[in-house]
């Protein structure tokens, strides 16, 4: 295969000072050739010569079989150069710089009388810059306002505007940060895979060893070595760089250089690590956010489950009340009426003359027990469904119930009702009635009280405070509401459940004078004023 680029005895002097002396270099398509050399060894001068920017003092550069004469010819033949310092047109914007010399537009006459198509150039420039992973606020920005790194990336982008056969890179990494250096190294590999030859001049041996196929070493303008990268070592290259083969003399220099490179590499790695860490941190943040979101979702699900549960319980209670009502009506309308009619029949038998007085006494006993049975049944009905609550309302039902309770238990009860109690919705009235019922039954069972007090007071037009107080034992010190169900005491628990279902608040506390005070505040729809339009 013929070499793409060949230099023959290439020499360049500035006055009497030789910069490049008799360099014979061959570069083949798809090959990455590294240029190593200390500062002033002529790497940049060689790059200039290869780009046609310097005219050789002696010797020639042949590219694809043609002798190179000018930079415009070099670029036309497919040689792109990225210099150490980017050469940009300061007055022009980013995309004009990227397409400098290769403007896209409508050619009026020839190449120079072309009217640039700015929109297309912006679009193409944006595409190339995306490949380079560089981002600018606006491609209309004049390059004079940009940082060195941004300018260098623009110079690199310029090398990507057309089909290229050889890309000469003259150590632009000096101006580039670690991520941009990595981008450049991967670009070099991508270019190589497309069959583009690359001459990569660098002071960084790691970079050279990473991407090159061959490494040419320059010293004082002369080509002193040409290593295959796979078959050489860092020590060998450094030996060629500094120009001695004596290992003893070499060691300190190698050591110094090596530690320098190592330190630099570590610094770069640290820098990289830092960016990675920052990225990780950001990722962690998003993970946390996701977890919080999930948690919130679960809490919401629990909430709705809870609401559904309460709803179910409310329905259960309502249905139970309905059943009670039905049962009470059955007993009252059927059983009691039947018993009463039996009683009447017996009474009629009793007044018959044929009945003996002994039998009469017996009948009287039976009738008394039937009456007692009716009373018991009435009591059961009252418990199942307060008889007065539907017709006369909560106040009457409570009065009747407390009176009855007091009579049965011989504990005096004072009932203190709000003057404006009025009628409340059926479920609320029934619930309040049950709360009082359970509160008083609690007093009877556990309090060993001498007296009890029930108060119903409006604390606002939309809420009612129910207080049940006694002068008994009060609550134990280690009282715990949740422990009650385990012990089989459902009274207070039932109260708290009902209050919760009505959306109210329950407070249990011992009074200063002794005894327990149960306070339940229950919200309800606005009560119509007594005497108002109802």
């Amino acid at each position: 295969m013929a070499p793409l680029l060949r230099t023959i005895n290439l020499s360049k002097s500035f006055g009497t000072l030789p910069a490049i002396q008799e360099v014979n270099l061959e570069v083949y398509p798809g090959e990455v050739v590294g240029l190593a050399g200390q500062s002033g060894s002529g790497k940049s001068a060689l790059c200039m010569l290869l780009a046609g920017l310097y005219t050789p003092t002696e010797g020639d550069v042949y590219f694809a079989g043609r002798r190179l004469k000018s930079p415009s010819q070099a670029r036309a033949l497919g040689i792109e150069v990225v210099h150490q310092e980017p050469d940009l047109a300061e007055r022009l914007d980013i995309s004009r710089n990227i397409f400098l010399g290769r403007e896209i537009g409508w050619p009026l006459v020839g190449k120079w009388l072309k009217v640039p198509n700015r929109r297309r150039m912006h679009r193409e420039a944006a595409r190339i810059l995306t490949q380079l992973d560089v981002h600018f606020g606006s491609l209309h920005e004049k390059v004079a306002n940009l940082s060195s790194e941004q300018r260098q990336m623009i110079a690199i982008a310029r090398a990507m505007t057309g089909p290229s056969r050889l890309i000469i890179i003259d150590d632009p990494t000096l101006l580039l940060s670690y991520p941009c250096q990595q981008t450049l190294l991967s670009l070099i590999q991508a270019w190589q895979q497309q069959g583009t030859a690359i001459i990569f001049s660098s002071n960084n041996l790691d970079h050279l060893l990473a991407v090159t196929d061959r490494i040419v070493v320059l010293r004082a303008g002369r080509q002193v070595a040409d290593f295959r990268t796979d078959e050489t070592s860092r020590e060998e290259i450094v030996a060629a760089l500094v120009g001695t083969n004596y290992r003893e003399q070499l060691t300190p220099i190698i050591w110094a250089l090596d530690s320098y490179y190592r330190a630099r590499k570590q610094a770069e790695a640290l820098c990289h690590q830092q960016t990675l860490l920052e990225r990780d941190l950001a990722a962690q943040d998003t993970l946390n956010q996701q977890l919080i979101d999930q948690l919130a979702k679960q809490v919401n699900a629990l909430d709705s489950a809870n609401v559904a549960l309460q709803d179910a319980q409310r329905r259960l209670l309502t249905e139970r009340e309905q059943e009670h009502k039905h049962l009470a009506r059955e007993i009252h309308d059927q059983v009691i009426q039947d018993l009463l009619s039996i009683n009447y029949e017996l009474e009629e038998i009793e007044v018959d003359e044929r009945v003996t007085s002994a039998l009469k006494r017996e009948l009287t006993g039976v009738r008394d027990s039937i009456r007692g049975l009716v009373d018991d049944l009435r009591h059961i009905c009252g418990n199942l469904r307060p008889p007065t609550i539907d017709s006369l309302g909560l106040g009457a039902a409570l009065q009747s119930y407390t009176h009855d309770w007091s009579r049965r238990t011989t504990i005096p009860v004072t009932l203190d009702l709000d003057a404006n109690l009025g009628r409340l919705p059926e479920t609320i009235e029934l619930s309040i009635f049950r709360i009082v019922q359970e509160g008083l039954s609690n007093v009877r069972k556990h309090a060993q009280a001498g007296a009890a007090q029930v108060r119903l007071q409006h604390t606002s037009p939309r809420s009612l405070m129910i207080s049940i107080a006694d002068d008994g034992r009060g609550l134990a010190d280690d009282f715990d509401l949740s422990g009650l169900s385990a012990e089989g005491h459902y009274g207070l628990l039932g109260i708290s459940e009902r209050v919760a279902l009505l959306g109210g608040r329950l407070k249990l506390q011992n009074q200063a004078s002794g005894g327990l005070l149960i306070q339940a505040e229950i919200p309800h729809p606005r009560v119509a004023q007594p005497g108002g339009e109802l």
């Binding site: 415009s72 670029r75 047109a89 007055r91 710089n97 072309k114």
Partner: protein
């Protein structure tokens, strides 16, 4: 570099402070053309109030005719100045192109061919200047000084120092006739010049060539690296300057009806002055055709005004020189401020 990034973000915010009419103001703020235009209005107003004769159709027609060829040559000169060069041969080129045309006419060549020969002369001198500057890389000041003497010398040799007279009517019409539009009569050279203002502005502002011309003075390396044929570009610009100057020379000869080897002596100074007053920076990279047009106009107005106000003609040079100095200082001050 960070400082630069900061200033760029500041300039990025600027348009918002200009208010709703910023699309009118933004292109004008800091524009040299605006300064020159305002100055032109002031000078015009002062002369209109100070004399009875300035604001007459005849006088205005004379002024516009007289500065046309200076302006046309200055367009070419400004391009050369913008690429960081200078062309001192413009006066000699004006004289020699006019003279070549006149000699061709005397040899009974058709007017069109005679004009073409005149333009070719200018183009040839420009091409020579450009080649020596671009390819051989000699300093333009020395080169154009030399070509100036050569051109002038050849003209003296060809004519023996005598002017060429009796030019045909068809040729003189180019410089002497007016286009009459109702009450307005516009001199033909002025129309030519206006056409060239439009063409030149399009060339400098819209084409790739224009952007290369503005870039060349400060960032020649960028053009080189991008594969632009810089030497050819220089040749082209000097040749264009020669062609434009020759156009001015032919128009001047047509107006005067006489071609003399001594014509246009010292015009190089007026032409450079028009370019500099119009905003072409001697450091390169700055200037516009429109500005140069205004610069040439203001100079001619000043000349005319000094005469009308009764100053002796000797003072004109001093006044023009002062103005050049003022504008060079302005340019310098602006560059200092831009850092």
């Amino acid at each position: 570099m960070d400082d630069k990034a900061i200033t760029s973000s500041q300039t990025g915010e600027k348009p918002n402070q200009l208010g709703p009419l910023r699309w009118i103001w933004r292109p004008l703020i800091g524009r040299h053309e605006l300064i020159v235009f305002v100055l032109l209005l002031i000078v015009g107003a002062v002369l209109s109030l100070g004399t009875d004769t300035f604001l007459t159709a005849n006088n205005l027609s004379n002024i516009s005719r007289a500065f046309s060829w200076i302006a046309i040559a200055a367009f070419g000169e400004s391009m050369v100045i913008i690429i960081g060069g200078v062309d001192l041969s413009v006066g000699a080129v004006m004289a020699s192109s006019g003279l070549v045309s006149a000699l061709c006419l005397q040899g009974d060549l058709p007017v069109v061919l005679a004009i073409a020969a005149g333009l070719l002369t200018g183009g040839l001198v420009g091409w020579l200047n450009g080649t020596l500057v671009g390819h051989v890389r000699l300093p333009p000041f020395i080169i154009t000084l030399a070509t100036m003497s050569i051109a002038r010398g050849i003209m003296f040799g060809l004519t023996g120092g005598w002017p060429v007279r009796n030019l045909p009517q068809g040729f003189r019409a180019l410089g002497q006739y007016d286009l009459v539009l109702g009450s307005l009569s516009v001199p033909l050279p002025f129309l030519f010049m206006l056409g060239l203002v439009v063409l030149g502005s399009l060339l400098m502002g819209q084409t790739v060539l224009g952007s290369y011309i503005y870039t060349l003075a400060s960032n020649e390396r960028a053009l080189l690296v991008s594969g632009v044929k810089v030497a050819q570009l220089k040749v082209l610009v000097y040749t264009l300057c020669g062609l434009l100057t020759a156009t001015g020379g032919v128009l001047m000869t047509a107006r005067l009806g006489v071609a003399a080897p001594t014509a246009a002596v010292g015009y190089e100074l007026d032409i450079i002055a028009a370019a500099v007053i119009g905003g072409a920076s001697l450091f390169g990279g700055q200037g516009s055709i429109l500005g140069v047009f205004l610069g040439a106009a203001i100079m001619q107005m000043l000349r005319n005004g000094l005469v009308l106000l009764g100053f002796p003609a000797y003072w004109q040079t001093a006044a023009i020189g002062t103005m050049i100095l003022a504008f060079i200082l302005l340019d310098y001050w602006r560059r200092q401020r831009e850092g």
